[in-house]
Amino acid sequence: MSETLIENGLTEKELPSPPGQPAWTRSLRQEAFELFRALPIPSQETEEWRYTDLSGLDLDAFAPFASGRVSDNLDGVAEEVQEAVGELGERAGLLVQHNSETATVHLSPEDADRGVIFVGLDRALAEHADLLEKRLHRLVPAERTKFLALHAAFRTGGVFVYVPAGVRVELPLQSLTYVDAEGLAVFPHTLIVAEQGAEVTFIERFVSRPLERALSDAVTEVFVGPGARVRYVSLQDWGEGMTHLSVQRAVLDRDAELRSLAVAFGGSLSRTEVESVLSASGGHSEMLGVYFTDGSQHFDHRSLQDHVAPNCGSEVLYKGALKGRSRAVYSGWVHVRKDAQKTNAFQTNRNIVLSDEAKADSIPNLEIEANDVRCGHAASVGPVDEDVRFYMQSRGIPADEAERLIVTGFFQEVLDRVPLPEVRESLEQAIEDELERSD
């Protein structure tokens, strides 16, 4: 299935108005649209956007909506979408978004009976407005940037995950967003709420066919309640031509635990901001990242560990490999605020550069306002270790096989921390594919 470029641009009359939405969502969209018009495209003159140039992005060339094929079950959705879903492994629920629409959604009846909600965000707004009013766009507000204003104005589709207090969702919930409409701007929005003591794993994937031009303007908001445990995995595997701008922000309550993994392989330009706010004592946030760039891809990853409350821990580990003429930027911030005594915060970024035209930047920042803390960071950029390669060759392993082993071993440190076999296997496969791809 291949659609042609849609005529309708990012104009006021295109603001979506799905059925059954509460009135506040309309005014929210309207205000966001005004902001979108007023705010400038972020400039490289600012620290936040110093490494990513979006001045050439022609927003007039995008349409805010394209329909998808909607069905009651997975068998009814478009074939390419089914193909993209692939092997899923055991799961508690699956949501598929095709272009701007929720194509199908399924949640195991047991979990539904226990009060778990897993639906598209538009439907959630019609059915569970009370759970959303104080949360939607609250962690990642529209006024932050032009793109977030754009997102808040035109958001459609999306995912809402709600786990009531004390409920443990044993198997992962999964979602796939698939885009095949040329010139489409999609606005994936994932909102996860884990109430006190709840446990849930959510895995989302973004896939598209190669396109001339498309925009993914994505937001994730995660509310981890007291003692709750959330594992959140996002796999960005967009096709060529996609510009992906994503902000994932979580707030952790007392003794909450968040383990996140952000993976980026696809798209032409990919910028991901992953943020954890440790707002109450005892929280712990693990933020892992894996990226592999090739061709002329440009990746810009930012992480923020914002320690507001005492006795919290956080750990960032981002590892990336670079090929071709690609560029990867990692910049991270550990912010330990005045009251956040007894903080343990660590931040590591390691880059392996496989081509002489690739470019890696690493900026791990610390801002520490409390004294009784243990904070550290480490960053490195370098080639495959020649000594290791030499050693392996001397043991009869051919040079490219040695490189393959070294690179997969390099990523293993991150993969070992993700106890989800289907995620690990697909990542291992994706890394192998990247290594085999010639530039």
């Binding site: 930047d361 920042n365 610390l366 801002e367 550290g376 960053a379 950029v381 370098g382 080639p383």
Partner: protein, 469 residues
């Protein structure tokens, strides 16, 4: 000319001392910056035409550039309320009694001799080191080394100065380099001929020209191939100055196979904005080392940098920063790898206490042709109380696949078990703290000339009095 008696409290708050206009007719300093002021400075010094033009061009750049939006808070600097040129004698306090009590007391505790104290305080134009300086100067002359103040350098060696001046740090480099380029005065000019090894450190305060403590000093060091020189600037005793803004520029040219070491111990009084641009060019197999201690000032922004322009060049930055009450020390270092097989090391230690804020800000950049470049950055911070703060902003930019870079940093407080152990061995808490902090900065102090290391250690001990972990 009389200086109003400084009030300690105002000093701490960074109050800028004015002084009465001098009544003699030679030169009347004016506040504020204008073409006329710059022209006047140039003509007072009877400078060549190119320098006058250089200054005026720099003034344009200064006006055209915005204040840095990053780093420390500089919003209190009032450029219109600063004297841009004052004869050296005019800025000295008239007598010892006029100096702030805390500064005199610190000197006593450091055990600095009376005569030296007066010199450092700027109250004495006569100082024994004049004799020392002349003796050293004779020796240096005999091996062809030039070591003089920058103004005399320009007068006596115009061809060398013209060739190198402003080539490493052009006037449009940053706002404060532009300001310095427009109104510079004083600083050192050092020229070391090919193959000459200067075996004594050249210390700025050997020079009796009192301009060496100037506001807008300008230093230029040229090391010809195969030469070696160690230049030492400042000293560990607190330097009292009535100037609220100190904005120096230091340029080093290290030609193939030469080695230049530049040591600074900065301890300005806590009313001073210390905004300094220091940069070195290191050619083939040259070695440049910046040893940079920042102990005083209200605000310091200083990131000594090394451009590694020749194959096999090596650069090293060792940085110690201390920030006490009301202080913000934003220090660090930069290494730009332009040529292959270049190496750099940055090692930074910072200590913050009593609400002080220290920062490490650094850049390691590997340009596309700098294959096999290697760099390692290590920065550690100690935060001694809950009022204080530490920031680390390291930038790593790599455009070469064979380059290998590493950065590591830690931030922590002094371990209670370490303190407990030392106190159980009979040390007071302050002594124990001082011992731990001195141990923490030891990798830097061991690179200092002995007398500086001793003074720095004593200074840390003084600053640790009353510290609680």
């Amino acid at each position: 000319m009389a200086v109003p008696k400084p009030d300690l409290k105002e000093l701490e708050q960074g109050y800028r001392f004015g002084w009465k206009d001098p009544d003699h007719s030679v030169f009347t300093p004016k506040r504020g910056l204008s073409e006329a002021v710059v022209e006047e400075i140039s003509s007072m010094k009877s400078e060549p035409e190119w320098m006058r033009k250089f200054r005026l061009k720099a003034l344009k750049h200064f006006r055209g550039r915005p204040m840095p939006w990053w780093g420390a808070d500089l919003s209190d600097i009032d450029f219109e309320n600063i004297y841009y040129f004052i004869r050296s004698t005019e800025k000295q306090a008239e007598n010892w009694e006029d100096l702030p009590q805390d500064i005199k007391a610190t000197w006593d505790k450091l055990g600095i001799p009376e005569a030296e104290k007066k010199f450092l305080g700027g109250v004495s134009a006569q100082y024994e080191s004049e004799v020392v300086y002349h003796k050293i100067k004779e020796e240096l002359d005999s091996i062809g080394v030039i070591f003089t103040d920058m103004d005399s350098g320009l007068r006596e060696h115009p061809e060398i100065v013209k060739e190198y001046f402003g080539t490493i740090i052009p006037p449009n480099d940053n706002k404060f380099a532009a300001l310095n380029s427009a109104v510079w005065s004083g600083g050192s000019f050092v020229y070391v001929p090919e193959g000459v090894n200067v075996d004594i450190p050249l210390q700025a305060y050997f020079r009796i020209n009192a301009e060496n403590m100037g506001q807008f000093e300008r230093t230029l060091i040229i090391a010809e191939p195969g030469s070696y020189v160690h230049y030492v600037e400042g000293c560990s005793a607190p330097i009292y100055t009535t100037d609220s803004l100190h904005s120096a520029v230091v340029e080093i040219i290290a030609k193939p196979g030469s080695r230049v070491r530049y040591t600074t111990i900065q301890n300005w009084s806590t009313n001073v904005y210390n905004l300094v641009t220091k940069r070195a060019a290191a050619y083939e197999d040259a070695v440049v080392e910046w040893i940079d201690g920042n102990i005083g000032s209200k605000v310091t922004m200083k990131y000594p940098s090394i451009y590694l322009l020749g194959k096999g060049a090596r650069g090293e930055v060792l940085s110690v920063a201390y920030a006490g009450k009301g202080m913000h020390t934003d220090a660090g270092g930069k290494a730009i790898h332009v040529a292959p097989y270049t190496t750099s090391i940055i090692n930074s230690k910072s200590v913050s206490k009593d609400g002080g804020r220290t920062g490490y800000r650094g850049l390691i950049r590997v340009e596309p042709d700098a294959h096999h470049a290697k760099s390692n950055v290590r920065c550690d911070a100690l935060i001694l109380d809950e009022e204080s703060r530490s920031d680390t902003y390291p930038y790593i930019e790599v455009e070469e696949d064979t380059a290998s870079l590493g950065h590591e940093a830690t931030v922590s407080k002094v371990g209670e078990d370490q303190l407990f152990y030392l106190m159980s061995r009979g040390l007071s808490e302050a002594d124990a703290m001082a011992m731990i902090v001195n141990g923490f900065i030891e990798p830097i102090t061991r690179e200092l000339p002995m007398e500086y290391a001793v003074e720095l250690n004593r200074l840390i001990e003084l600053n640790m009095e009353g510290a609680v972990g």
